[in-house]
């Protein structure tokens, strides 16, 4: 049996002659090679990046090379050390369990200190390679859009490097900080709450955090609901009122929760109540904006229907708009409850209640095991709230995507 003879394609490898084909169809292919504009843009981009690297950030190839070599040595040495410690842990597991736990922690700590931290630093290298890749990639075609892309890219990266230099980044500082972080990570390893008295304190603070997030979200949503209508074009057609309401929302939103907390502490004193008021203040602006947008995107037809049967404007809002926006609003409120659980963990830093106070205190006093325990607590709580609110959202609005 003989193989069928396939017709020879003019584009098959043997016959492919790029120049000949392009000459056959004049004007159908973009000009090949390096267009002057692209080449110039590439030159400017590379020049800007290199100049900002050398002049502003003070990076020389030699220093960079040395740092990469040091990181490599640390990774290799650390792998060996961690391997020994982990092997010791495995051997001990048969006998002394607590000693095995200690060896395991030490091995993991070494892995973080000497391998993960330098690896993080070494991740700069792929970034540099990617920069090269993009710049070279730009030569695959030509045209003004390519030149523009290159120029924007060069400006962005140059600004990045200038920023790094101005703010005092240096390879030595990053490397030192990374190894410091590794040491902290090692010290954090078995998370520990200190004493049982502290555990009770932490649990109470966690409850405070949840209460702050819950009450803050609920009150803000309740207050923002009527004001959302004031800012919506289709509900209240008064230009001035809308403008004033919207700018008020913007201002409230522009002031961060932490700043609000500081202000409210002056009014109601230290404690979680100030935290609740802080969340209410900044979320009032956020909810007002979101609600008014939801109202504005509501379908106009039900409103017309209600008005055509002789309903008043209030009826139109109640029976025409409200049923449309309620599910959207509910899912937004639930989403904000999740995100406020996160923000409520930090307002304790300024003394407005919640777990943030203990977190910042244990970081400042370098109680690393308690830091990791507290962070773990926050992570678990947020995960639980995430799951619960997702269930609730689906139960209320059906399997609809949150907006």
């Amino acid at each position: 049996m003989t193989a069928p003879v396939l017709p020879q394609s003019p584009f098959s490898d043997r016959h492919f002659d790029r120049a000949a084909i392009m000459a056959r169809y004049p004007g159908e292919f973009p000009a090949a090679g390096f267009a002057p504009a692209t080449a110039l843009a590439a030159l400017v981009a590379i020049g800007g990046i290199v100049a900002s690297l050398v002049i502003v950030a003070g990076v020389t190839p030699g220093a960079f090379g040395l740092a990469v070599i040091a990181a490599g040595q640390s990774i290799v040495g650390g792998l060996g050390e961690a391997g020994q410690a982990l092997a010791a842990a495995a051997a001990l597991f048969a006998g002394d369990l607590s000693a095995a736990g200690g060896a395991l922690a030490s091995g993991l700590g070494t892995l973080i200190t000497r391998v993960a931290a330098p690896l993080g630093f070494a991740a700069v290298v792929p970034f540099m390679l990617y920069v090269l890749f993009v710049v070279v990639d730009a030569f695959r075609a030509s045209g003004s859009s390519r030149a523009l892309t290159l120029l924007i890219f060069g400006v962005l990266v140059s600004l990045l490097i200038v920023g790094l230099g101005v703010m005092g980044f240096s390879i030595a500082r990053i490397a030192a900080g990374m190894s410091q972080l590794g040491v902290f990570a090692k010290l954090m390893l078995p998370p520990d709450w200190g004493s049982s008295g502290k555990l009770a304190l932490y649990l109470h603070a966690l409850g405070e955090t949840l209460a702050i997030a819950f009450l803050g979200t609920l009150i803000a949503a309740t207050l923002a609901f009527p004001f959302g209508f004031l800012a919506a074009r289709n509900a209240v057609p008064v230009w001035l009122l809308r403008f004033v309401t919207r700018r008020t929302f913007d201002t409230l939103r522009g002031v961060d929760t932490l700043i609000w907390a500081l202000i409210w502490i002056n009014v109601v004193g230290l404690g979680p109540f100030a935290g609740v008021l802080a969340i209410v203040s900044s979320d009032f602006g956020a909810f007002g904006k979101l609600f008014s947008e939801a109202i504005e995107t509501a379908d106009r037809k039900p409103v017309e229907g209600v008005l055509s049967t002789g309903g008043s404007r209030l009826h139109a809002v109640r029976f025409g708009i409200l049923p449309q926006i309620l599910p959207v609003i509910l899912s937004q409120v639930l989403y904000y409850f999740e995100s406020n659980t996160r923000s409520a963990t930090i307002i304790g830093i300024v003394g407005a209640g919640g777990i943030g106070l203990h977190l910042s205190e244990s970081i400042r006093t370098l109680e690393w095991q308690q830091v990791s325990f507290l962070v773990l607590m926050v992570l678990v709580t947020v995960a639980v709230i995430d799951t619960l609110s997702q269930r609730l959202r689906f139960a209320i609005i059906g399997e609809r995507r949150a907006v």
Partner: protein, 295 residues
């Protein structure tokens, strides 16, 4: 046709239907009532834990309005220029710190977006077959975005020293977590045909991502990055609280030391900047997304 000749439901059937309707609505009403009761109980419980004292709030509300009144500058129309000059006596320093805040946000967003860019392809369910790798990438991103950036900043200040460096790193890590999730969701929604085409020609992971995925996701990535930049400007403005650079330190000091008019001066600068960045990024995003739609 006369009215009484209209077909009527059999009374027993009608009775059953009405009972069924009442039963269904009663069940719903009961559920509503239980839900409402739960809500009230949790409100009371939360109010008790959070030490809510409405009486104190209303009694001291005067001090809130007084505070707002105190931080506002005294400006007279006939001497408005000197008044403003006095109000903004430290404008050179504040402007520099505001610039630093913007720089922290910019560098943090870019570095974080780079990390998110690399990790998003590993966390996407449609590109990575290995569940272990995907799980690790996803949990890592989750960790990065759940721990608040100010907590990262607190730890980094101890490790890297005071100044904008820990602020940038904290924002970068948080941004990586937040953008990584959004980016990987974008990747999961792409058209898979180009990917199949490239894989069938024997392309590796990097080539597949570069030529099949990247062209589809680039505009969305840019739009999300701009959105994140706006959020990060707000975040960078408070980094100074823990000594991580930016204008936050001066604001905190002004509030704590009762330099009243300084508070309003700095706050106004921050609000104007945030609103301006808001509008700028929105315009840019519409242009980026518009360019996508036109293609």
């Amino acid at each position: 046709m006369r009215a009484d000749t209209l077909p009527r439901l059999d009374p027993t059937v009608r009775d059953r239907l009405e009972r069924g309707y009442l039963y269904a609505t009663a069940a719903r009403r009961r559920r509503m009532l239980v839900g409402f009761g739960l809500l009230v109980v949790s409100i009371l419980l939360a109010g008790w834990i959070a030490e809510v004292q409405p009486a104190k709030f209303f009694a001291n509300f005067g001090s809130f309005t007084k505070y707002i009144h105190d931080i506002l500058p005294v400006l007279h129309l006939d001497a408005a220029d000197t008044g403003i000059a006095e109000w903004y006596w430290g404008w050179k320093r504040w402007l520099r710190l505001l610039g630093e805040t913007l720089l922290i946000a910019y560098v943090g967003t870019l570095v974080g977006a780079l990390g998110a860019f690399l990790l998003s392809f590993l966390a996407a369910g449609n590109l990575v077959r290995s569940p272990g790798l995907r799980f690790a990438a996803r949990r890592f991103l989750e960790f990065c975005r759940t721990v608040p950036e100010i907590v990262f900043a607190l730890i980094f200040v101890v490790a890297f020293g005071l100044g904008p460096v820990p602020g940038v790193l904290a924002i970068a890590i948080h941004t990586m977590g937040a953008l990584g999730k959004l980016f990987s969701e974008v990747v999961e929604n792409i058209d898979m045909k180009p990917v199949e085409g490239l894989v069938s020609t024997g392309a590796g992971f990097v080539e597949t991502v570069r030529f099949a995925v990247l062209p589809q996701v680039m505009t969305n990535y840019a739009s999300y990055m701009l959105l994140r930049f706006e959020v990060n400007v707000r975040g960078a403005a408070i980094m100074g609280y823990v000594g991580a650079g930016g204008i936050g330190q001066d604001l905190l000091e002004a509030i704590r030391k009762f330099y009243y008019t300084d508070v309003s001066a700095i706050l106004l600068m921050i609000i104007i900047t945030v609103v301006a960045i808001d509008m700028l990024t929105e315009t840019l995003r519409h242009r980026v997304l518009g360019a996508e739609g036109a293609r």
